[in-house]
């Protein structure tokens, strides 16, 4: 199970947070801060795994992260997930974002966090991985965007 998915930038500003277990807003912020603190002090060329976030998890949980330019993508997972599998999944996630936003950059994530959520929803559902094939994810996202577009056009025609 994936317990949480966090995206924050090099300064620890959250860009997306998705918790698959309920925490209060304060705890969530604390978790983000703590995770940022743990992850950011690590060198660029060390391994992508980190054990021992205090707030989230415990011994069974690992932080698996990737650092892309200005953004950290952090997945907090338990031992039922394969470490390398999750690393691949992060890569798929980022590549999907790249496809959907066309050369994704931090600004895309800042202004379109809802879209990022929608994309993520096609990959991970309730902490379980739904789809790992990028093309499949993009197809689903596109289809829903198309639907959304057709709906937004409707009121204009009415008025």
């Amino acid at each position: 199970m994936i317990k949480a998915i966090l995206i924050f930038n090099n300064h620890g500003k959250p860009r997306l947070s998705k918790f698959y277990e309920h925490y209060t807003e304060d705890t969530e912020q604390q978790i983000i801060r703590e995770t940022f603190h743990l992850v950011s002090k690590r060198d660029e060329n060390v391994c992508n795994f980190l054990e021992g976030g205090m707030l989230i998890g415990g011994s069974d949980y690992k932080l698996i992260y990737r650092h892309y330019a200005t953004l950290y993508f952090v997945f907090c997972v338990d031992s039922s997930e394969s470490e390398l599998g999750i690393l691949d999944l992060i890569q798929v996630f980022v590549e999907t974002l790249d496809k959907c936003f066309e050369n994704v950059c931090e600004l895309d994530l800042i202004f379109h966090v809802d879209k990022v959520h929608n994309i993520l929803a096609e990959m991970v559902m309730g902490g379980m991985v739904l789809e790992t094939n990028m093309n499949e994810i993009i197809t689903q996202v596109d289809a829903q965007n198309k639907m959304e577009k057709s709906e937004t056009r409707q009121p204009e025609t009415i008025s």
Partner: protein
């Protein structure tokens, strides 16, 4: 109305949308909180409007603010409103907001039940999608209970794949919240494992893996199903999940492990995905099999693999320490890594790897790292580990204590010195030097703990003062004024031990006519002690003044020429024995003694609590005298130990004097209590006068070499016996270790334990054990699915067609029956396999036993013929090869024949005999195994083993395609191109490659000719090997379980054509016969009644093959039915052949 809409949209134009909000926040960096609070006010206004678009926009912004840490639960009701919008766009916003901020105590959640139900059954699949996604985040027990049926309906009747897979996935969440639903839903979930859509399949695998992780034993029955999936699935994610699941299942079902080896090896060899490879290796470890040979070389130097590799190694270490120890250098290298995670992992590993042989080297290396280490956590860890390593299992790995004692940071010499007799002399000398140089330590080291070493040193020098060369000098060193700057407890030990030294000096001067030395010593004591009497530390003061008075009295006596030495030394007589750290705990409570009862009424004022135990444990053993001899020979020691044991045995109330008895300072350092020394690195770790530890390493090496040369066998034997007699379970290290004799004939004084000590292991568990197995949480509220699923929740289920219902039910009832049948079969297979495994050791024949495997055989006749093109240069070698080939040819034939047809015991033994004499061959291909992918694909696995002494490379595998069967080649290559085998073979290594064939018609058996070309590295010539692939019809059959009612229906349908065959002279029990058909021809037993059984199998193209096997005496008749008569005929022929040759 129109006006209102227009007004609404105008409003919207002025409203901020999410992008505006984000921009605004970014523009108000300095007063962000204030800006956001005005935004929230705006949002509140927006939410009050009727326009759903405005509301949705507001909710969208709230979702963003929630991420920033603002509580938005006040808008919960508005979120529900947006969720119930009929438009997908708004609905999605609503569900997203709900998934982010709803939780179990959100009260409006109960309002959503009907809305979600409506969305689940919506004709728009995306409505269902967002509803399920949202629900997965905020599902509550109530929602789970109310919506379980709707979700089940979606699962079984979902027309759309997306809907199906989402609903399968959410079942897990429902189970978690509403465990009662698991049993009624489970059969449905199981069905989905075999869903034609890979997405649904993977969702089902996901759910079951999550469930099984918590309660693996309940899911053992699914193992065959997963096994099938593992061999057929191509989705790496699914494979990883399944492999992880098997990792959890194998500890519960050891037989599973054996079965898994082969498919896992196949995957390891064939996969290109590192993640899958890692999980395979990981599971292989869980299965406790070290596949040290034939593994592809995947030492990727990237950090990730390093970490995971170390993680995996620590798992191997637990069971196969030997195989890890060979990688010691690699792990030591990891200590140099700049990544702390990796360093810590490596450290953990080292701890487990230590043996007698490598301890010195490892510790030396670690000491170097202490110098370099930055960051306190890591350094602390490092030091703790060094000490742990050295002290583990009662110092059993330390062969050279001289070295150990000379390590300045090892603050446990008292522990050692008490444990080991012969080392004392040396230790004392070392410590004396240390004390002499104490001024070096005292100054700068005051604030860090290294002066603790002095504490130990002083104690040792005092206690074993008779070994000192120059006690007077040491005494002088101990009484230097500088000592007063040391911490109080150390001073106290100094004072006490100065007295001991004094006694020794007097003793040595005894009989000496010139008594000036003795008198000078007394004077020295009297001069120096007042310094300590003034000490602020009470302990020091007390001891000092006590001893001072004593010395004064002695001095008086000395002046009168009275012999005092004997009496003085009697003060400190007695012997110390090491006591096991847990000895106290293990003292059994005598019958009738209630430890909690008051012996006397409690005094009004509590006395010092530690007084009573002191009184008990301080009892000295009167009979023990101090060991006087400086040379302790082994015999004497043994004798003494024996005597002591005897004494203990005779005295049931005997409690040994603990090291904390009167002579020792109260906190006398047991191994456990030694403070972990933190070293300030500005301080040099070397003390002049102390030999460098490296020198000892060198010395030790020399010594070992010398010893090896000498080989005093007799002695060794003796020692070995003794060692095994002690039965240390830690002695599981490599055998070769036994050859290393310790530097001294040290006598391990076994730590004392009270008699009747309960041999409890529980307290031996080290909470820091790096190899601690992961605890699996079993208390998850989950119904025990071992029982038959009784549908207690039928009433609530959505209406279903009765036929399907029945199916599910019968499937459920079939389960245990099927399982037991399977087990039986597995047992038989095991047996078969065991027999073959014996063969394997000589020919390393790969046997398969999977349900979905297709057995392809090699036609051996043309197999070992080499191309004659040879360079003259290597003629000699080649000739030899040829000879071997011929030999091999013969054997191979025989062997092959056996392998395929016979299990006859006699013949087997003969073959074993011949095969064992086998000489290495250049290349050998053992057999080819097929594996089903889909209706027209067959995967052939070929194992290549290099049996010659040269390196083989550039292997190319080519098969002459027939019309019917074609080797699948990568796009762009011609029909006659060979496929490159993706590895090279060093001598003696085997590896497996897989080749995919497309087969059009499967009704006829077929032979394909092929060649393997390769280059022998030494001669760099091309070599060629011809072979034939034999695709039998049997190989197209897959073992498929079939239920008896379905079987009956199949026979009734009348689509099948019949045929029959009679086998004469079959002399084997019926169940053997069935097992053989199952094993060799991939059938499964549907039903068996006495000497009659029905069997079923399916071809990869979906042909049903049914058999009715009857036996009477030695005659077996097989009536068979199949919808493809040609296939049936061929299968029957093959069966006949199998039995005719046994």
């Amino acid at each position: 109305m129109a006006l209102k809409i227009v007004k609404g949209s105008i409003d919207r134009m002025f409203d901020k949308n999410l992008q505006d909000l984000v921009r605004g926040i970014r523009n108000h960096k300095e007063d962000e909180a204030k800006y956001i609070s005005t935004c929230i006010d705006e949002i509140k206004q927006e939410l009050k409007q009727d326009n759903i678009a405005v509301k949705a926009n507001a909710v969208c912004k709230l979702t963003y603010l929630q991420m920033l840490g603002y509580d938005v639960s006040w808008a919960a009701f508005n979120i529900v409103e947006v969720m119930s919008s009929s438009k997908f766009t708004y609905k999605r916003i609503g569900y997203l907001a709900a998934s982010q901020c709803f939780h179990e105590s959100t009260d409006v959640i109960m309002l959503t039940t009907n809305q979600i139900r409506k969305d689940l059954s919506s004709p728009n699949q995306y409505d269902t999608g967002v509803a399920l996604t949202g629900l997965s985040c905020f599902v509550t027990p109530d929602l789970a209970r109310d919506l379980a049926n709707d979700i089940m309906t979606l699962v079984s009747h979902g027309d759309c794949v997306k809907r199906k897979r989402c609903s399968v996935l959410i079942m897990y969440k429902v189970f978690l919240k509403y465990p009662e639903s698991l049993r009624p839903a489970f059969p449905r979930l199981k069905e989905k494992l075999e869903d034609p859509d890979p997405g649904v399949q993977s969702a089902a695998v996901n759910v079951i893996c999550e469930l099984a992780r918590r309660n693996p034993k309940n899911y053992l029955s699914l193992a065959p199903l997963f096994f099938k999936l593992m061999t057929s699935s191509t989705n790496n994610w699914v494979l990883i999940k399944i492999i992880k699941l098997f990792g959890a299942l194998t500890p519960l079902e050891p037989r599973l492990g054996k079965k898994l080896i082969e498919p896992l090896t196949n995957l390891i060899h064939s996969t290109s995905a590192m993640s899958l490879l890692y999980e395979c290796v990981n599971t292989v470890i869980a299965v406790l099999i070290s596949l040290s040979s034939g593994m592809p070389n995947h030492s990727a130097s990237i950090q990730v693999m390093k970490y995971l590799g170390l993680l995996a190694m620590s798992k191997i270490l637990k069971t196969h320490p030997k195989s890890v120890q060979s990688h010691k250098d690699l792990i030591l290298q990891c200590l140099d890594d700049k990544d702390e995670s990796i360093r810590l992992r490596a450290l953990d590993l080292l701890y487990g790897m230590v043996s007698k042989k490598n301890l010195m080297e490892i510790v030396k290396k670690l000491m170097l790292h202490v110098d370099k280490a930055e960051g306190t956590t890591y350094r602390d860890e490092l030091l703790t580990k060094i000490i742990d390593i050295c002290s583990q299992s009662n110092y059993q790995y330390i062969t050279n204590f001289e070295w150990s004692v000379s390590q300045p940071v090892t603050p446990h010499p008292p522990g050692i010195s008490v444990s080991w007799w012969t080392i004392r002399v040396f230790a004392v000398a070392q410590m004396a030097t240390l004390l002499d140089n104490a001024h070096l330590l005292t100054g700068s080291m005051q604030r860090n703990g290294i002066c603790e070493v002095l504490y130990a040193a002083a104690w040792i020098c005092g206690e074993f003062s008779e070994h000192l060369e120059n006690p007077l000098q040491t005494l002088e060193a101990m009484l230097r004024p500088k000592v007063a700057t040391l911490p109080g407890h150390i001073q106290a030990v100094y004072v006490q031990n100065a007295a001991k030294l004094f006694a020794t000096v007097l003793k040595s001067q005894e009989g000496n006519t010139d008594s000036t030395t003795a008198q000078e010593t007394s004077q020295l004591m009297i001069d120096r002690l007042p310094l300590f009497v003034q000490s602020a530390n009470l302990e020091v003061q007390e001891r000092a003044s006590c001893i001072l008075q004593l010395v004064k009295y002695i001095q008086k006596l000395q002046q009168k020429d009275v012999e005092v030495a004997e009496e003085v030394i009697a003060l400190f007589a007695g012997e110390l024995n090491p006591v096991a750290p847990k000895a106290q705990k293990k003292v059994p409570v005598p019958e009738g003694l209630d430890l909690d009862a008051w012996i006397n009424e409690p005094p009004s004022e509590s006395e010092s609590e530690d007084e009573q135990p002191k009184a008990i444990f301080a009892k000295e053993e009167p009979k023990h005298s101090r060991p006087r001899h400086t040379e302790v020979d082994e015999k004497e020691l043994a004798r003494r130990r024996e005597a002591r044991k005897q004494e203990q045995a005779n005295n049931p109330f005997y409690i040994k004097a603990s090291p904390s008895s009167q002579k020792v300072y109260q906190d006398a350092p047991g191994v456990e209590h030694i403070p972990v020394v933190q070293i300030d690195l500005s301080v040099p770790l070397k003390v002049p006068g102390l030999p460098m530890s490296d020198q000892y390493v060198k010395l030790e090496e020399e010594r070992r070499q010398k010893e090896r040369a000498e080989k005093k066998k007799k002695e060794k034997k003796k020692r070995k016996e003794k060692r095994s007699g002690r039965g240390k379970k830690h002695d599981s290290g490599p055998e070769s270790e036994e050859d290393i004799t310790p530097a001294h004939m040290v006598d391990i004084v076994t730590e004392e334990m009270p008699e009747n000590a309960l041999p409890s292991d529980d307290d031996d568990k080290d909470p820091n054990d790096p190899h601690k197995a992961l605890d699996i949480d079993l208390d998850k509220p989950l119904a025990d699915s071992e029982k038959l699923p009784v549908r207690s929740h039928r009433a609530a289920e959505a209406p279903k067609s009765p036929a399907e219902d029945g199916d599910a039910e019968s499937a459920a009832t079939q389960e245990p029956k099927k399982k037991s049948g399977k087990e039986k079969r597995e047992k038989k297979k095991d047996k078969d396999r065991d027999r073959k495994v014996s063969l394997k050791c000589s020919v390393s024949l790969q046997i398969q036993f999977s349900t979905s495997r297709i057995f392809n055989e090699l036609s051996p006749s043309s197999f070992w013929v080499f191309n004659e093109k040879k360079s003259s240069k290597h003629k000699k070698k080649k000739q030899k090869k040829e000879k071997e080939e011929k030999e091999k040819k013969k054997k191979k034939k025989k062997h092959h024949h056996h392998h395929h047809h016979s299990d006859g015991g006699g013949e087997e033994s003969v073959q074993n005999g011949t095969v064992e004499e086998e000489e290495p061959l250049p290349v050998s291909v053992y057999d080819i195994q097929g594996n089903l992918q889909d209706g027209s694909q067959v995967v052939v696995s070929v194992i290549f083993e290099n049996k010659c002494d040269s390196f083989l490379k550039s292997m190319e595998f080519n098969v002459l395609d027939s019309l019917n069967s074609k080797l699948q080649r990568p796009e762009g290559s011609g029909p006659h191109d060979g496929l490159t085998v993706p590895f090279q073979l060093p001598p003696g290594v085997s590896n497996e490659a897989r080749f995919v064939f497309t087969v059009q018609s499967i009704v006829m058996p077929q032979k394909l000719k092929g060649t393997l070309t390769f280059i022998v590295k030494d001669s760099s010539t091309h070599e060629k090997l011809d072979f034939k692939l034999h695709f039998t019809c049997t190989s197209y059959l897959i073992t498929t379980p079939c239920y008896s009612d379905a079987f009956a229906k199949l026979l009734e349908s009348g689509d099948l054509k019949g045929s029959s065959v009679r086998l004469e002279g079959v002399n084997m029990p019926f169940h053997h016969l069935l097992a053989r058909i199952c094993f060799h021809h991939h059938f499964s037993v549907v039903e068996r009644i006495d000497s009659c059984a029905s069997m079923y199998s399916r071809s990869i193209q979906g042909h049903h093959v049914c058999l009715l096997v009857k036996t009477s005496g030695q005659t077996v008749s097989i009536d068979a039915k199949c919808d493809e008569p040609t296939l049936l005929g061929n299968v029957l022929d093959e069966i006949k052949q199998t039995f005719s040759q046994c």
